[in-house]
Amino acid sequence: MIATTDLLAQKLIQAVEEADSSQRLLTAVQNLAQARLIAAIPTLIQVLGYNNPGAAVAAVDGLILIGEPVVSPLLEKLDDYNYGARAWAVRALAGIGDPRGLNTLLVAAKTDFAMSVRRGAAKGLGNLHWHQLPPEQVQTYQGEALEALIQVSQDHEWIVRYAAVVGLAALLNVTSTRPDWQARIIAQFEQMLTTDDNLAVCSRIRLAQQSN
């Protein structure tokens, strides 16, 4: 069984490495991603740096499918990446939702030069898998995410503010033990509705208010 899996992984990885056109690369990465193999992690991480949006989307999907085992190698690689690859890596971390990604997401959401990175990180901050943390740490982590998201909800790019609303809305749903935080999120939404002139951002706030 193991031998078969190894053989399959080898075949799929080889197809990615030997792809000689954008379309073949995309197909090969999609196949590798769908196989959901631990052995595929290094290759999928590498694809994030190829400057091929289609292939990167497929690689991110594949990394999210594999989940937790991806987090350590991805965090190790992050510093070597260019902006494009960082954006994909942050999206993978945000999608996996492992709380070990918190610090990366905090820094990325608040300070990253690229708005696509701030955007992905903001959404991820609200959607971490809090149950994976020891109970006594949950509030510390959520508190940090909340502070960051309130700040990011004032970003100068509409799409980052939109993502912050998505993050805050998710946080609103998991903080019933902290009514003070929930009140802050609701107040922040109200304030944004009066000051933010972007119709998409305001629509997303209204959706969050309806769902709450």
Partner: protein, 279 residues
């Protein structure tokens, strides 16, 4: 909130002082500066930071007739920047000057003027814009040695669509079959705006599957501009950057919300769901 927008679809007023070495007063004064580089930069800056005050519009309108700043091939760089800026400032006092620019010898001045007239929404510019299309597809052919066609056809077609220029329908229609896909898409976009016939929106959905990334990007922009709600899923699935898909979906969402008087329809919620997944 301090707002300095970098995206092209911004409509917000801004606080221009925070993000630049120029002030509003300096920028306006610089449009009369003897250094043509400073004049050129000031014209760009006033548009970039949406300086919507009458004095800024007045100096920019004057700059549309500038004769001092010329390129080696007889272009008018200051006029180009002034024409672009005036589209962003939303003051229809600029319309007569921009219409005059549609006859300028500089292609890029004509292109900028057409784009800005589309943004300003004043229907008195329709006849001038229609004149740019007068020769039809027969004249819309590549010019040897130049990177553009005889006229800024795409800009003129898009502006006429934005102005809902029904009288231009028969002029725009032949461009649906122009050999250049970008012009076909511009024609689809305008024809949809003028006729609301879904055939044209559906053609743009097909264009999202074009094998060239540049054309898929153009179709995303066009569908966002017409707010074609049926395209939502196809946009989300297009092989292109998420940033561009999000801007396109934003166009759909805003158009939908405006039509339903700010309430959230099932379609609007569906679009936001797609957007959430692309963040």
């Amino acid at each position: 909130m301090q707002r300095v927008e970098f995206d092209q679809d911004s409509t917000s007023a801004v606080n221009p002082v925070d993000d630049s070495s120029l002030t509003v007063e300096q920028a306006i004064a610089n449009l009369h500066h003897q250094d043509k580089g400073l004049r050129y930069y000031a014209a760009w800056w006033l548009g970039r930071f949406r300086v919507r005050i009458p004095e800024a519009v007045t100096v920019l309108i004057e700059a549309l007739e500038d004769e001092a700043d010329r390129t080696s091939d007889d272009g008018y760089p200051l006029r180009r920047n002034a024409a672009r800026a005036l589209g962003k400032l939303g003051d229809t006092r600029a319309v007569p000057g921009l219409i005059a620019c549609l006859d300028c010898s500089d292609y890029y001045v004509r292109e900028a003027a057409a784009q800005s007239l589309g943004m300003l929404g004043d229907t008195t510019s329709i006849p001038g814009l229609m004149k740019l299309l007068a020769g039809g597809c027969a004249e819309a052919t590549p010019i040897p040695g130049l990177p553009h066609l005889a006229q800024p056809y795409d800009a003129a077609i898009e502006a006429l669509g934005a102005l809902d220029a029904r009288e231009a329908e028969s002029l725009i229609q032949p461009f649906l079959e122009h050999p250049m896909e970008l012009l076909q898409y511009a024609a689809c976009r305008a024809m949809y705006q003028i006729t609301a016939n879904p055939t044209y929106g559906d053609r743009l959905i097909q264009a999202l599957k074009n094998e060239k990334l540049q054309l898929r990007r153009a179709a995303l922009a066009d569908l966002g501009a017409i707010g074609y709600i049926k395209a939502a899923d196809a946009i989300a699935q297009t092989l292109a950057e998420n940033s561009l898909k999000l801007i396109s979906l934003k166009g759909l969402l805003e158009s939908e919300v405006k039509q339903t008087n700010d309430t959230l329809s099932a379609d609007a919620i569906r679009v936001m769901d797609l957007m959430d997944n692309l963040l």
